[in-house]
């Protein structure tokens, strides 16, 4: 079975400051990794994913995440946040083998202060 831990339930930052949202996972098999974002009153949207290849993946709006297999982590970063980044962010994994279902972390609420 897989589990995902997001170490911070809430992260407040000032606009234009850098941010890191932490995600660690546990799995006995290799996994694919995802970050989903949920803006206020909207559904979940895929932000970025790691399937294979380069361990650093980027989104179109400036976020990036790095897969670290030895630390079983997939932290999400952005060098300079904007008010529009205010949302809840979910880390999730799917195993390569076995029951291929998304397992989510509990979410991190990112609040941007002007």
């Amino acid at each position: 079975a897989q589990s995902v831990t997001q170490l911070d339930s809430q992260v407040p930052v000032f606009e234009e400051a850098p941010v890191e949202l932490r995600c660690n996972y546990s799995s006995s098999v290799s996994v694919y990794l995802f970050w989903y974002v949920q803006y206020p009153n909207q559904g979940l949207q895929l932000l970025l994913k790691y399937l294979s290849g380069s361990t650093l993946v980027e989104s179109i709006n400036g976020f990036e995440a790095e897969f670290n297999k030895s630390q079983t982590s997939f932290h999400l970063r952005k060098p300079s946040v904007h008010i529009s980044d205010t949302a809840e962010y979910f880390c999730a994994v799917i195993p390569f083998q076995g029951a291929q279902k998304l397992v989510f972390g509990q979410g991190t609420r990112l609040t941007i202060n002007p």
Binding site: G43, L44, L46, F90
Partner: protein, 114 residues
């Protein structure tokens, strides 16, 4: 391309009543998922369909929850009878195939059981 549609958006019922949620996935998506998201937690998969067959319903409380996907398109999720702990957002998602394919989420139905 139209997104995943869900209705109703909000529902308030008393415990022991019945309730049903409807989902229309993105056209052509073979896989459909129902998730339960309790406040402060990440989404948890309840049931996964591949076309009109059930792939995984291991976390569906079958004594009170049921779901169907007739003709492999629309799906309904029913709760009968509802309990207080069923208060949550019920999310529907779809993907072209299962596995590491991106899942597209609907806006969700917020259920409050009094």
């Amino acid at each position: 391309e139209a997104g995943v549609a869900q209705s109703p958006r909000y529902k308030i019922i008393e415990k022991r009543q019945s309730v049903a949620f409807w989902c229309n996935p993105i056209s052509g998506h073979a896989t459909l998922y129902w998730y339960q998201q309790i406040l402060g937690q990440g989404p948890k998969l309840l049931i996964q369909f591949q076309n009109n067959g059930v792939v995984d319903d291991s976390q569906l409380p079958k004594d009170r929850f049921s779901a169907e996907r007739l003709k492999g398109v629309d799906s309904t999720l029913k709760i009968q009878p509802a309990k207080l702990e069923d208060s949550a957002v019920y999310l529907c998602a779809s993907s072209r195939l299962a596995g590491n394919n991106e899942q597209f989420f609907g806006p969700g139905t917020r259920l409050t059981v009094l």
